[in-house]
Every structure is written in structure tokens, then in C-alpha cells.
């Protein structure tokens, strides 16, 4: 309980600690606090900007989506039209082909029938000639008759 030099010792150490605190303790910690405050504020504003960008992007996405949908519709419609066209074309081609084939077949048939007719004519005329020959073998000259028959044949 005596007042003595401890008083002065304490005052000196108090002064030293205060000076040390003022130099090495207070400034770094308060500046760190200050900086963190700024960082948090920056982060918050950045988050807000991000939110806005997100909303904008959402709107963008919606418009793009609807655009794409309408485009898809167009494409489908075009494809359908195209399908119809192709089918029509194919139909036309097919019918043309069949008619061509039919014609060819007809022609062939005609030719065949012509040839048959001709050969039949020939055979018939030969038969007629042979018959006539047999009938009129003696009286009629063969060459003149042949000429007449030839003329007949060409007439037919």
C-alpha cells in the first residue's frame, strides 16, 4: 500500500505500450476492417449486377426460345410442302413411265400382229395359188398368173 517508484514504472510502461499499440496494433487491424467493409460492399453491388444480368438473360432466353419455336414450325411446314411436291412428282413420273411402257407393248403387239397377218396372207395366197394352180395347171401360164397374184398381194 506504499506509494513508490512503481507508480512511475507503471506510467512509463503504460506510455510504451500505448505507443506500441498506436504504431503496430491499431493501424493494421483497423485498415483491415476498413478494407473488408469495402470488399463486402463491392461484393454486394457485384451480386446485384449479377442479378440484373441474370434477369436480362432470362428475358433473352425467352425471346430466343419463341423465335426458335416459330422457326421450327416454319421448317416443318416447308418440309411437309416439299413432301407433297415430291410425292406428286413421283406420281407423275410413274404414270408417264407406265404409259410409255404401255405404248411400247402396244406397238410390239401391233408389229407382231402385222407380221402374223403378213405371214398368214402369204400362206393364204400361196394356198390360193397352189389351189388355183392345181385347178388350172394346164391352162394358165404360171408367170402371168404370178404377176397377177403379186398385184393382188400388194393390194391387200
Amino acid at each position: 500500500m506504499n506509494i513508490n517508484l512503481t507508480l512511475i514504472g507503471q506510467a512509463i510502461s503504460f506510455a510504451i505500450f500505448v505507443l506500441f499499440c498506436m504504431k503496430y496494433v491499431w493501424p493494421p487491424i483497423t485498415s483491415a476492417l476498413e478494407e473488408r467493409k469495402k470488399k463486402i460492399a463491392d461484393g454486394l453491388s457485384a451480386a446485384e449486377l449479377g442479378q440484373q444480368a441474370l434477369e436480362k438473360a432470362k428475358v433473352d432466353v425467352d425471346s430466343k426460345l419463341s423465335e426458335a419455336k416459330s422457326e421450327a414450325k416454319n421448317i416443318i411446314a416447308m418440309a411437309e410442302k416439299r413432301q407433297g411436291d415430291i410425292l406428286d412428282e413421283a406420281n407423275v413420273k410413274a404414270s408417264e413411265e407406265t404409259s410409255k411402257k404401255l405404248k411400247l407393248a402396244e406397238q410390239e403387239v401391233e408389229q407382231l400382229s402385222m407380221r402374223l397377218k403378213e405371214s398368214l396372207k402369204k400362206d393364204l395366197s400361196k394356198l390360193v395359188v397352189e389351189g388355183a394352180e392345181m385347178i388350172m395347171k394346164k391352162e394358165i401360164d404360171k408367170s402371168t398368173h404370178d404377176k397377177a397374184i403379186q398385184a393382188l398381194v400388194t393390194k391387200i
Binding site: M1, N2, I3, N4, L5, T6, L7, I8, G9, Q10, A11, S13, F14, A15, F17, V18, F20, C21, M22, Y24, V25, W26, P27, P28, I29, T30, S31, A32, L33, E35, R36, K39
Partner: protein, 292 residues
């Protein structure tokens, strides 16, 4: 209890005496006082080794802890220690901002130092009263061959009026320094002599000067005394009660020491806070140049 041979009052006296190193008035040699009587006779030229040692050690703990955190302070996510220290610093900062309305870079660090340092010194009060003194006695007896009754050791620096007055007087002189710096010598003297009673009449004014000087002088000098003694008194009383509780039989001590320790936690923090706030208030008054 320290030793069975002691009576209750001897035990209390022993616990209230500092380990004093000083100049023996009889032969002029600097040595450790052997009895309380010796310590008293040494007068002003003596140092309380225990108070000084603990206060400086605790001050170092404070400075080391805070400067390490300060050096490693990150602006990112703070760790547990940094968080705690930031809370303390923000607490001090907001208190200083509320009370101190001028700009002075010294005030906030000084308030921080005073608060944490005083808090740490007060916290020593919660260490059981015989714990460290017994260790000190053991060391004193076995290393230095001292009489166990002559090994005095107080571990709570704030129960030493030298410590609390040392700080409050530093604040007092600093307040006078800032007062003169901000108001000029005329302003400072005027504050002491022309208030609280003043008059337009010059003669009455002159007559009022001694009255004013007396009133203001008392209030000026009362500040450091009440500042220092408030802290000392509270902690001394708390320590005293712990010592009295320690006189009880061993099995009964906890019934009183635990409630008192829990209550004392409040006192410890509160007194450190009051010491810090008063300091800032006095500093603020020293900076107030405004009209009274």
C-alpha cells in the same frame, strides 16, 4: 491457507503485502524487503517487483497477441482469434467515437491499451489467491533460502494503488498537455479561474478568481484520484473478499468463492470498461475548446 502457523490476520496481511525491492534506509543498500514494516520504511525509493512484473508481462501478452493478429490481419474471412480481436477493437472504436468528438490518433489506441491491459490485470484476480503465491514461496524458499513468511507475492497489479494511480496520473498529465495545446495557457488558466462563477464587472470577476480556482482546482485534482482509486478500490475489495473466503475450511470455500468469482467477472470487465471510458471522457474535455 498458506501455512498452519499463521493466524488469520497474519495471513491477510501477508497477502496484502507486495514483494518490494528498495533502498533500505538503515544501510542504504538496495534489497528485497523482508517484512511489511521494512517495505514501508523504504519509502518512495522502492519498486513492487510483483506488480511491475505482472503488469509488464500482461502488457506484453496484450501487445504480442494484438500485433501478431495485426500483422496477419486478412481482409478475407477472419479466423477465430482475429475475429475476437476485431470485436474488441470495434467495441473500443465505437465507444471512442461516441465519447470523443475530436480527431486525435492517440486516443483510440490508448483506450484499447488501457481496456485490454486493465482487463488482463483484473483477470488475475480470478486465479485462486494462494495458487501463484505458494509457487513463489516455494521458489523463494528453495532457491534463495528465504523465510517463507517473508516471501510476499501479489499477482493482481490493479490491487496496487501505484499501478492504477500510475495510469490515471499519466492520463491526467496527458489531459493537461492536450488542454494547454488546444486552448493555450490562457485558455487553460481561464478555465480554472473564470468558471463556474463569472461576472461582467471586472472587480467582481477578480474577487471571484480564488473561489473559482479552488472549486475548479479540486475538481481537476479529484479526477485522476477518483479515476485511479476507483479501479484500485474495486479490485482491492474483490481480492480482499477472496482472501477472507480462503480463510474458511477447505471443504466450504467453494460455496462462497464460486458465486463471488462469478459476480467478480462482471466487476472485472466493468471496471476495465469504466477506466477506459473515463479516460476517453477526460481526453475529450481536454480537447473541448467550446464555450462554457
Amino acid at each position: 491457507m498458506a501455512t498452519g502457523a499463521q493466524t488469520g490476520s497474519e495471513y491477510i496481511k501477508h497477502h496484502l503485502t507486495n514483494l518490494t525491492f528498495g533502498k533500505d534506509p538503515s544501510d542504504g543498500i538496495w534489497k528485497i524487503a523482508e517484512t511489511a514494516q521494512d517495505a514501508q520504511e523504504m519509502g518512495f525509493y522502492a519498486v513492487h517487483l510483483d506488480s511491475m512484473g505482472w503488469s509488464i508481462a500482461l502488457g506484453f501478452i496484450f501487445i504480442m497477441l494484438f500485433s501478431i493478429v495485426g500483422r496477419r490481419a486478412t481482409t478475407g474471412i477472419p479466423g477465430g482469434l482475429q475475429n475476437t480481436i476485431e470485436i474488441i477493437i470495434e467495441f473500443i472504436d465505437s465507444n471512442v467515437r461516441d465519447t470523443f468528438s475530436h480527431t486525435n490518433k492517440l486516443i483510440a489506441p490508448m483506450a484499447l491499451t488501457a481496456f485490454v491491459w486493465v482487463l488482463l490485470m483484473n483477470l488475475m484476480d480470478l486465479v485462486p489467491v494462494d495458487f501463484i503465491p505458494q509457487i513463489a514461496t516455494y521458489i523463494g524458499v528453495h532457491l534463495y533460502g528465504m523465510d517463507p513468511h517473508h516471501v510476499y507475492f501479489k499477482i493482481v497489479p490493479t490491487t496496487d494503488p501505484n499501478v492504477t494511480m500510475g495510469m490515471s496520473l499519466s492520463v491526467f498529465f496527458l489531459a493537461i498537455f492536450f488542454s494547454i495545446k488546444n486552448k493555450g495557457i490562457g485558455g487553460f488558466v481561464g478555465e480554472l479561474t473564470l468558471h463556474p462563477f463569472s461576472s461582467k464587472n471586472l472587480l467582481i470577476k477578480v474577487i471571484l478568481i480564488p473561489i473559482n480556482l479552488f472549486l475548479e482546482g479540486v475538481s481537476l485534482l479529484a479526477k485522476p484520484v477518483s479515476h485511479g482509486l476507483r479501479l484500485f478500490g474495486n479490485l482491492y475489495a474483490g481480492e480482499m473478499i477472496f482472501i477472507l473466503i480462503a480463510l474458511l475450511p477447505l471443504y466450504a470455500q467453494w460455496t462462497l468463492s464460486v458465486p463471488w468469482a462469478i459476480f467478480h467477472i462482471l466487476v472485472i470487465v466493468l471496471q476495465a470498461f469504466i477506466f477506459m471510458v473515463l479516460m476517453v471522457v477526460y481526453m475529450n474535455m481536454a480537447h473541448d475548446t467550446g464555450d462554457h
